[in-house]
Structure formats: structure tokens, C-alpha cells
């Protein structure tokens, strides 16, 4: 038996639904038809003089003439009372005529009003279209400005580090794993293929709740410092590290607390159980499995009890992400969610949640949070992250 009205739990009522439907109904206007009203009005005018109509012209017969004469006499006798009726009828007919004219005027005004509203509706629709286009153009320009700004900062950094922008300077750029074997600019590569800093920052916002009120957070492989900036803006104490000197210089240029270091080496120097959280964003796919295990072991050591480790990487179960994986020559091998989970749990982390982001179709939810035991990984998301707790 249902005991409670379902609306007790729902914010929507039948009136809300009706109001919503009413707004979707186009304004309707049908001109009024005055023919009947005017026809009746003319008939009323004809019949208003009851005295005149009471006696019609006589027929040819003597009986008809007699009847007409008798009626005339009767009319003369009743004239004093019937005259009031004729006057009353006159006023009524006049009133009806004026009402009809007023209604006709009203209908005309209503028609014009309707036209005006329709014009306004069309103007509003056109304006909304323009606004939509302008907003999308503004978004595109914002992204472009951000890219140009990042590039400018990177050039400044390069000038500082290498004393120029020439190809020899670019070739000398160190790779993320500290070697100098990459014959291209990894910073520019990231800028072009990873997306703008704003996009990455928005995408990483989902990880914020796990790092609130936990103490100091370490972002290993911070790249252009998106997550470091995000945590700092939330007032969370954060330290970023990256092996790429240009990336580090870029972050410092932006005023972020970032140092150049390898993850493993840095964590060895960190005091035991001193960190509240560690973020490994797009790092583990650059390492061989043994390297991942060693890094996780160091993380376990550095985190205090209850500390959180978030490991984000490319989702190998998504065909599109798999294709893009080999775009980055510094990637070693993709890491399957089950492998990462196994490695984390082997180290002692309790893996609490899986977060899937960067959907292939724009129609999908931007971020999906599931429990790790929920079943098959989501194949339509390009990145995933596992959240482990010490």
C-alpha cells in the first residue's frame, strides 16, 4: 500500500508541469467573426419601432382594411405607453451597435498586439541564436588566447634555459624521464595534443574532494601545473614535481610550487607518513610495471594513515584512447584498470572508487564515478583513475 503522496519527495508538482507546458504552446489568435452580431444588430434596428410595425399595410379585402383600421385605433390608444417601449428599444439597439463597434476595435487591437508579440518572439529567437554563436566564438577565442599565453610563457622559459629559440635549443630539451634522447619539444607537444590548461584543469576538478582537509599533497608529474594550480586556488598545501626542466620552469613562471625531480627519488627523500595525498596524473603509462610498483611502494611509505592516492591514466579498454596512446612516444605501455588495482592493493592500498572521464561522445556524462567492484570498465571513456586509501 502506498502511504505517502509521491510529491512529498519530489520537488515537481502538477502546476509546475502545466506551467512548463503552457510556455511551450505557441500564441494562438483567431479573428472574431462579427457577421452574426451585425446581422442581429440590423434586425434589431428594423424591429425597434414596435409602433410602426404593429400595423402593416392593409390587404385588398374589406376585412383586412377593417382590421388595419381597428389596429390603428388601438395603436393610437396605446401610444402613450408603447412610446416608452420604442424609446427603450432605441437605446438598446444603440447600445448593441456601440458594443459591436467596440468589440471590432478590440479585436483589431488584439490582432495588432498578436502581430507585435510574434515579431518580438522572432526577434528574441534571432537574438538567442546570435548570443549562442557569440558564446561559442568567445569560448574558442578564450581557448586560443590561453594557448598563445602558454606558448609565450614557454618561449620565455626556453630563452631563460637555453638562451634562444633555435632548433638546437629544442633538440636539447630533456624528455620527461630525464634523458635527452627526444628530438622534439615535449612542452609544445603537450600543448598541442593534451589540450589547453583550462580544459585539463576543468577535467581534474573532479579529484578535488579527495584532497580537501588532508594536509600536504604531492602532485607527481605535474606537467604544466594544472592540478597544482587548482589545489592552490582551493587553499590546499601542494608541492608539484616534474622531471622536465621546461615544464618546471613554466610552472615557476606562473608562481607555482614546483621542483624538478624524479618521483621515486623525490619520495625517497620525503619524511615517512608526512603526506596527506598524492596525485599521479598521466604518469604510470610512462613507466614499466616494475617502476610503477616501486613508485607505489614509495607512495605508501610517504603517505600518512588515511592518506589518499589518486592514479589517473589512459583507459586501455577504450578503443579510441588506445589509438591515441601511441601518439605520445614517451608512453611505455598502457595500464589496465585491473592491473593497476592489483598493484595498488598489493601495496596495501584499499581501492575505493574508479573515476572515468573524457568521454568519446559529447552526449555522455562528463565524469562517471563507480565502485571498483561495479563490473566491466566503461569503454566509452578515454581516461580512468583509481582512488586508493592507505
Amino acid at each position: 500500500m502506498i502511504e505517502h503522496h509521491p510529491t512529498a519527495n519530489a520537488s515537481l508538482t502538477i502546476h509546475d508541469i502545466q506551467r512548463d507546458i503552457r510556455t511551450r504552446v505557441p500564441l494562438g489568435y483567431a479573428p472574431l467573426h462579427f457577421d452574426t452580431l451585425y446581422r442581429h444588430e440590423s434586425e434589431l434596428s428594423y424591429r425597434q419601432d414596435v409602433l410602426e410595425l404593429a400595423v402593416l399595410p392593409a390587404g385588398p379585402s374589406w376585412l383586412g382594411r377593417l382590421k388595419t383600421w381597428a389596429k390603428r385605433v388601438l395603436r393610437l390608444g396605446l401610444r402613450w405607453v408603447l412610446m416608452r417601449q420604442v424609446e427603450f428599444n432605441g437605446v438598446v439597439v444603440e447600445q448593441v451597435r456601440e458594443t459591436a463597434q467596440l468589440l471590432s476595435q478590440l479585436d483589431q487591437n488584439l490582432g495588432e498586439l498578436y502581430d507585435t508579440v510574434r515579431r518580438l518572439e522572432r526577434a528574441v529567437e534571432a537574438f538567442a541564436d546570435q548570443q549562442g554563436r557569440a558564446e561559442s566564438e568567445l569560448g574558442r577565442l578564450r581557448r586560443e588566447v590561453s594557448r598563445v599565453r602558454d606558448t609565450l610563457v614557454s618561449y620565455r622559459v626556453r630563452v631563460k634555459l637555453h638562451g634562444g629559440l633555435g632548433p638546437e635549443a629544442e633538440a636539447g630539451a630533456p624528455s620527461p624521464n630525464g634523458t635527452h634522447e627526444l628530438p622534439f619539444d615535449y612542452f609544445l607537444f603537450e600543448n598541442q595534443f593534451r589540450g589547453t590548461r583550462e580544459e585539463i584543469r576543468d577535467r581534474q576538478r573532479v579529484y578535488l574532494p579527495w584532497f580537501r582537509d588532508r594536509g600536504k599533497v604531492l602532485d607527481i608529474g605535474c606537467g604544466r601545473g594544472e592540478f597544482v594550480e587548482l589545489l592552490a586556488s582551493e587553499g590546499i598545501p601542494v608541492q608539484g614535481i616534474d622531471s622536465n626542466a621546461e615544464m618546471v620552469a613554466f610552472c615557476r613562471e606562473l608562481g607555482l610550487a614546483v621542483v624538478q625531480a624524479e618521483g621515486e627519488a623525490y619520495l625517497t627523500g620525503v619524511e615517512e607518513q608526512s603526506l596527506g595525498g598524492i596525485f599521479l596524473g598521466q604518469v604510470v603509462e610512462h613507466l614499466p610495471p616494475a617502476g610503477i610498483a616501486r613508485l607505489l611502494e614509495r607512495c605508501w611509505r610517504a603517505l600518512r594513515k588515511g592518506g589518499v592516492l589518486v592514479v589517473e591514466t589512459v583507459n586501455p579498454c577504450c578503443p579510441e584512447a588506445n589509438g591515441n596512446f601511441y601518439l605520445d612516444p614517451t608512453h611505455v605501455r598502457p595500464v589496465h584498470p585491473e592491473l593497476l588495482r592489483f598493484l595498488m592493493e598489493s601495496q596495501g592500498f584499499a581501492v575505493e572508487e574508479a573515476v572515468y572521464s573524457a568521454p568519446v561522445d559529447p552526449g555522455l556524462e562528463p565524469v562517471v564515478r563507480t565502485t571498483v567492484d561495479a563490473g566491466a570498465p566503461l569503454h566509452r571513456y578515454q581516461d580512468y583513475a583509481l582512488v586508493g586509501r592507505k
Partner: protein, 383 residues
């Protein structure tokens, strides 16, 4: 001394008719409570032999002062009036609302005269001061007050219906196959001018422009006496270009009716006069969202659970139809709300509880002199 019996009078007892379901529901319920109850009708369907008998069988009980008489009034019935006036039983008037004569004047003067007689009869029935007046709805309650009833004599008890029996029937597989696709909009009710079919077609025509595959199923008896009305509707269908989208199904079997409810995406009601609206209750039971125009007791029956519009504007009703025919939160909310209302207000045991409250109260009411025209015996030939 034999215990008092309950006699229920109604002009017609025929399966599928709302008044019949109410009368038979009362018989069943009273028998459950241990009363000897029987329904009597001038035209009685043979299939209802267990619960109902022809009017002649009532004659021996006419003067039994301790017996109860429940008179179901929904249409003018001279013979019923005669019996009422000559009965010495304890009399209760069950009022189902009389359709105003104006709806029929243009199409069938004989029906108009019957309705007019019904309106006159309401006042005559009330003149004899029945012990209790049972109205289907507050709308009917107000009609009774306007006809001269005293408010303290009136109670509102919703009519018994057969929605649960319908739900237990198997679906009709042939009809089920026919009702694939959609959206299917359904209206259930006899094809009569007071049911507002002309407006129904106007609204559906607007909806059909947006949903080209939609179908309107008009389910209900096509009365040959109202041939002009039906012809007018068919002409309108053709003028609107809806020959392939609108179907008049006429009377259908209970299994077919159940299938219509099970397959319908929406119930559209543009009735101009409804004393209660049993099909609305059936739609609520079967999870068919209702879009309706507020007339008579429609708003009261649906409560805050259906899309009931005060305005008769076709565009508004058509947009409402579009909203409920589209799978989504609104459709599901309406279905849930309507089901909730059915469970709380119109489930047979709920109706039985309300009827029981009135019946128990009646047992405590002192018997008063009821016959105003004593002495005259009923002419047997009149039956």
C-alpha cells in the same frame, strides 16, 4: 421475522455500464456483510442472473417497511418514479447525475425529453425526502443541493467500478498486435454529444501534426439513435484528414478494453459533462496518463494527478498530450501520481470502506415515515 433485505433499483443493468457496475458492486458488498441484497432493472441482461432480477420480482417487497430501497438515478425513468412513490421501504437515493437535455436536442429529441424528465424527476425524488442521498462526487452533491436537497442528508461515496476485474483479464492478442507502434491516444465512453468528441478530434488533429504516427481510439457504444452525431463526427474526421488516424471501435469486450488500456500512451478526455468519470479511474489503474479539460467532476476525480486544463484551448491540450506521450520524467511522474491516487481513493476496498461508513451510520438512523402517497397499490401491468 425475516431480516431486512436491500433492493437496488435501476432502469438498465448491462455489463460495461458504469451505473450497472455501481449497483452490482453494492449488491456484492452488502452480501459480503451478510445482507440479502438484489438488483432489479426494467432491462436486465441475462448474464447477471445471480445478482440481478427483472423488475417484476421486486413487487412483493414494495410494502416491506423494514427493507431498504436504493434507487440509482441517472436518467428519467417514469416506472422507477412510480415505484419510488409507492414504496414503503426505507429509501436511499443514489445520484449519478443526469446529463443536461441541451446536449441531445439537436441530435435526438427523444433523449433530450428523457433527460429533461430526469431533471424533473430529481426534484420529485427529493420531494419524498429519502433517508439518505449518496452522490458519486462533490460535483453531483452540488447538483443535489441545487435541486433542493438538504446538505445533512447527503454523503459522497465514489461509485463501485470493475477496474480490478478488467486488470485480471488476459489481453486480446489480435488487438495487441494491432496496437503496435503508436503513440496511441484513447478515449473511453459512449459516443454521445456530452462527451465532447468534436473537441476531442480538434485536439487530436493538432497533436497528430506533431506525431504523424499517432492514433486516436474512440472506444464506446455507437448508438444508432444518435446516428446524426456519429455521421457529423465522421465528416469532421474526414475534413481534418484523419481517416487513417482515428478509429471508432464501438462497444468492445472487457478483454479488448483491458488491452486498450494496457497499450494506450495517453487518455484524452474532453467531456463537457461528467458526473464522476469511471474511465478516468480505469486509466489511473492501468497507468495511462490523463490529459483532460476541466468539466463536471473531471478535476475532482483526477485530483492533482492529471493534466487537467481549465482552458479548452486545443493547442494546450495537444501540447499536454505531447508531454505525456514522450517517454520521460513527466510521463512517469503522472503515472506514479495517478496510481497513488487510485490506491488511496478508488481501490475497491477503499470505496467499500466509505460505503460501509455511510451504511453503518444509516443503521443507527431512526426510521421515519417515508411514504407520501400511501394506499395506492402498484399496477402489476405497469411492469
Amino acid at each position: 421475522m425475516t431480516p431486512p433485505r436491500v433492493h437496488i433499483l435501476t432502469p438498465v443493468l448491462s455489463p460495461g455500464d458504469a451505473v450497472t457496475h455501481d449497483a452490482l458492486g453494492m449488491v456484492r458488498q452488502l452480501r459480503c456483510w451478510g445482507w440479502q441484497a438484489m438488483a432489479y432493472a426494467q432491462y436486465c441482461d441475462g448474464r447477471l442472473r445471480d445478482l440481478a432480477q427483472p423488475l417484476a420480482a421486486f413487487e412483493p417487497f414494495l410494502k416491506a417497511r423494514r427493507d431498504w430501497l436504493i434507487y440509482h438515478h441517472s436518467v428519467g425513468w417514469p416506472l422507477g418514479q412510480h415505484l419510488w412513490e409507492h414504496s414503503r421501504n426505507r429509501r436511499i437515493l443514489r445520484y449519478h447525475s443526469v446529463t443536461p437535455a441541451r446536449f441531445f436536442r439537436r441530435y435526438q429529441p427523444r433523449y433530450a425529453a428523457g433527460c429533461q424528465f430526469g431533471e424533473w424527476q430529481t426534484r420529485r425524488l427529493l420531494r419524498d425526502r429519502p433517508i439518505r442521498l449518496l452522490a458519486d462526487s462533490h460535483h453531483n452533491f452540488a447538483e443535489l443541493l441545487a435541486a433542493g436537497a438538504r446538505p445533512e442528508d447527503c454523503r459522497v461515496v465514489p461509485p463501485f467500478h470493475a477496474a480490478e476485474e478488467l486488470a485480471n483479464l488476459p489481453a486480446d492478442p489480435r488487438l495487441e498486435r494491432m496496437l503496435q507502434g503508436g503513440p496511441h491516444v484513447v478515449f473511453v465512453g459512449k459516443v454521445a454529444p456530452n462527451k465532447g468528441h468534436r473537441h476531442l478530434l480538434r485536439v487530436f488533429a493538432l497533436f497528430h501534426r506533431q506525431a504523424a504516427t499517432s492514433q486516436l481510439h474512440i472506444v464506446g457504444r455507437l448508438d444508432p439513435q444518435l446516428g446524426d452525431y456519429v455521421a457529423e463526427l465522421r465528416r469532421q474526421v474526414s475534413n481534418l484528414g484523419l481517416e487513417n488516424a482515428v478509429r471508432f471501435h464501438g462497444s468492445v469486450s472487457p478483454r479488448q478494453l483491458r488491452t486498450f488500456y494496457a497499450k494506450a500512451h495517453a487518455f484524452l478526455c474532453t467531456s463537457e459533462h461528467e458526473g464522476f468519470g469511471v474511465p478516468l479511474v480505469e486509466a489511473m489503474r492501468f497507468g495511462v496518463p490523463v490529459v483532460a479539460q476541466a468539466a463536471g467532476a473531471v478535476r475532482e476525480t483526477l485530483g492533482p494527478t492529471g493534466l487537467v486544463w481549465d482552458s479548452a484551448e486545443p493547442a494546450l491540450l495537444a501540447e499536454g498530450l505531447r508531454a505525456v506521450c514522450t517517454a520521460g520524467a513527466i510521463r512517469q511522474l503522472l503515472i506514479d501520481w495517478q496510481r497513488w491516487r487510485y490506491e488511496c481513493e478508488f481501490r475497491p476496498d477503499r470505496i467499500a470502506e466509505r460505503f460501509m461508513a455511510v451504511w453503518d451510520e444509516l443503521q443507527l438512523t431512526p426510521v421515519r415515515a417515508v411514504a407520501r402517497h400511501p394506499g395506492r397499490s402498484m399496477a402489476a401491468s405497469a411492469i
